[in-house]
């Protein structure tokens, strides 16, 4: 009797085909519309909070407690010009070093302990 023309499958050998099917455009998981619909208002809410926080930010402390008077060349709401940060940081570090207290108090002793 002639055997049917089926491929011989070794049960011990793992299947080679279709083990890891390559993803195609068709079978890529689509973004769930619900997730998008939920995340958009959350992002918008966070952004609005950030804007509110920035707008309500307190001005930096001034020596006399008053707002700076605007100059001709400076619009009222523009930030104050900042000195060059790199130099400023270096100078602050030097200033901190200068103000270090290195002096060590002398021990308090009696030079002549006797009868």
């Amino acid at each position: 009797m002639q055997s049917p023309d089926f491929p011989i499958i070794n049960p011990l050998k793992p299947k080679q085909d279709n083990v890891n099917p390559k993803p195609t455009v068709q079978n890529k998981p689509k973004l769930d519309r619900k997730v998008i619909l939920i995340s958009i208002p959350i992002i918008l809410g966070l952004l609005s909070l950030l804007i509110v926080a920035l707008v309500n930010q307190k001005p930096t402390k001034l020596t006399n407690g008053s707002k700076p008077t605007p100059t001709l060349f400076q619009p009222q709401n523009s930030p104050q010009p900042q000195p060059n940060n790199k130099w400023q940081q270096q100078l602050n570090s030097i200033n901190d070093q200068l103000n270090q207290n290195l002096d060590l108090d002398l021990p308090k002793i009696d030079q002549k302990i006797t009868f």
Binding site: P83, W87, L91, Q97, L98, Q100, P107, I109, T114, F115
Partner: protein, 251 residues
């Protein structure tokens, strides 16, 4: 390359931290030894009072025992303070390695002397031996005080000289990266003059440390030297304020 750079920065950070940590440990030890000395000294004062009242052999022996304990604790306290001074000088030693090294060596010598001297305390049996010990200590203590004051002053000179050097570097960088107008050049020239004045004050402070010592009494130069250092610090503070104004000009 980046790894090496990070490694070097890290190494520098940990080295600076370890200096501070060691110095802090010595400071704690000095405080602890000061407490121990104070306790033994109070005990000595108490026994001295009792002995002056009763004047017996027993009270004399008890007094001698408390004197020996107080002397031992005093020498240990001084040793720990000298060690603290020596360690604290390491931070700014690169500014003046030779001079700083010499002062550190003097501190070490005094430390060794105190350690040896402490071993003699147990042998004291009577007032004559105690007076001899006190006399030897008194003569050496003039030298110890001189070294302690020199160390405190030299450390502060090194510290301020380090600030002067950093300000000079900053000015050099400013000159290299900015085209300075006449006004800025004038300011920098004024800062240079002030830096020179600082260095003169620091040199004066160093001169004070060379004051000749009397064999009978410690000639305390510390107040005059610290006065020069304070003057230098005032000028440095002003220079930093001037530099801040100058930086605003470039912003």
């Amino acid at each position: 390359m980046v790894f090496i750079l990070i490694f070097l920065i890290g190494l520098n950070f940990f080295s600076t931290n370890s200096h501070a940590q060691v110095s802090n440990e010595y400071f704690n030890d000095v405080s602890y030894q000061q407490d121990l000395y104070n306790q033994s000294y109070d005990l000595y004062l108490g026994k001295k009072q009792i002995h002056s009242q009763y004047n017996s052999i027993t009270t004399e022996k008890e007094l001698l025992d408390t004197i020996k304990t107080a002397l031992t604790n005093r020498e240990i306290l001084l040793s720990s303070y000298l060690l603290h001074l020596r360690a604290s000088m390491d931070t700014y030693k690169p500014i003046s390695p030779d001079l700083t090294g010499q002062v550190q060596q003097q501190l070490l010598n005094h430390n060794l002397w105190l350690t040896n001297q402490s071993k003699q305390i147990d042998k004291i049996q009577n007032k004559i031996q105690l007076d001899d010990y006190n006399q030897t200590f008194f003569q050496r203590y003039i030298q110890i005080q001189t070294s302690m004051a020199t160390s405190r002053i030299q450390n502060q000179i090194n510290h301020q000289q380090s600030v002067v050097n950093q300000i000079k570097d900053l000015i050099l960088q400013l000159k290299a990266e900015h085209r300075l107008d006449q006004q800025a050049q004038n300011w920098i020239s004024q800062i240079d003059t002030n830096l020179q004045t600082c260095q003169l004050y620091l040199a004066e402070a160093y001169k004070e440390t060379q004051t000749k010592q009397n064999t009978r009494k410690f000639n305390d130069f510390y107040p005059d030297a610290i006065d020069q250092i304070s003057k230098s610090k005032q000028i440095l503070t002003k220079i930093i304020l001037d530099l801040q104004s100058l930086l605003k000009k470039f912003s």
